[in-house]
């Protein structure tokens, strides 16, 4: 299950959405907004998405997690809007019978999100003009080969 929301992410409520019967291991990752960026103090972060595509990409990532590892369940939530320092911007939970799968799937998910999901953040520092993170990076994505 995936969701993009402007609501505060409640880690317990999200983890409880995992549909589990066999149990074993649950690994979660919470990405939280950092106090410092480039050594400057952050006041607030603004998250923006190309929502339909971000939803599609998160669904693909969730499907890939399940394809690559034997999971009992997985959830990914991503928040948008204005976040204060320390708030959760992304929360992932992966459950599996054995711990290796849950760890690997959770790690995979956050790496994929950072690479492929069209979500951007604008940092507002305590001092200085706000800026879009990575705005001037040269960016390339691997275009998948067309299916035959």
């Amino acid at each position: 299950m995936i969701r993009i929301t402007r609501q505060v992410l409640d880690e317990k409520a999200i983890t409880s959405k995992l549909k589990l019967k066999v149990h074993g291991a649950v690994v979660t990752f919470a990405g939280t907004t950092r106090l410092y960026s480039d050594g400057k103090k952050v006041r607030m972060l603004e998250y923006e998405a190309y929502e339909p595509m971000a939803t599609k990409k998160l669904r693909e990532i969730e499907a890939d997690m399940r394809k690559k590892w034997k999971l009992e369940d997985a959830v990914i939530f991503h928040r948008l809007g204005n976040l204060e320092v320390g708030e959760v911007s992304v929360f992932i939970a992966a459950a599996s019978e054995h711990r290796a799968e849950a760890f690997d799937a959770c790690r995979f998910a956050i790496e994929e999100i950072k690479e492929k999901v069209p979500i951007w953040k604008k940092e507002h520092w305590v001092n200085g003009k706000p800026h879009w993170v990575r705005a001037d990076a040269n960016w390339e994505v691997k275009i998948p080969e067309p299916k035959p």
Binding site: G31, T32, T33, R34, Y47, E48, A49, Y50, P52, M53, A54, K56, H78, S89, V90, I110, I113, K114, E115, K116, V117, P118, I119, W120, K121, K122, W132, V133, R134, A135, D136, A137, N138, W139, E140, V141, I143, P144
Partner: protein
């Protein structure tokens, strides 16, 4: 044919619009659209030939031929997920 170019985050702010409708020749590619936009708004992205574009919510190559009515999103480097 007509396509819609959409802009997000830094691109949106530098171009000053969320989207622009563009009329292109039949058989025009994503690369042609990128060239058109980067001539119209010079400097909005550091390397126009490396701009990442998604058509119909999928990342595509600059060689892709556009179709009438396509939506082409200009995707600046993503930074979701935090840390």
């Amino acid at each position: 044919m007509k396509v819609t170019a959409r802009f997000f985050a830094s691109y949106r702010e530098r171009i000053g619009k969320r989207s622009i409708d563009v009329t292109l020749d039949r058989n025009a590619t994503v690369g042609d659209l990128v060239t058109y936009i980067s001539e119209k708004f010079p400097g909005f992205a550091p390397h126009p030939d490396r701009i990442v574009v998604a058509v119909n919510e999928e990342y595509v190559s600059h060689d892709l031929r556009l179709k009438d009515g396509d939506e082409a999103a200009f995707i600046p480097p993503v930074s979701g997920g935090a840390s």
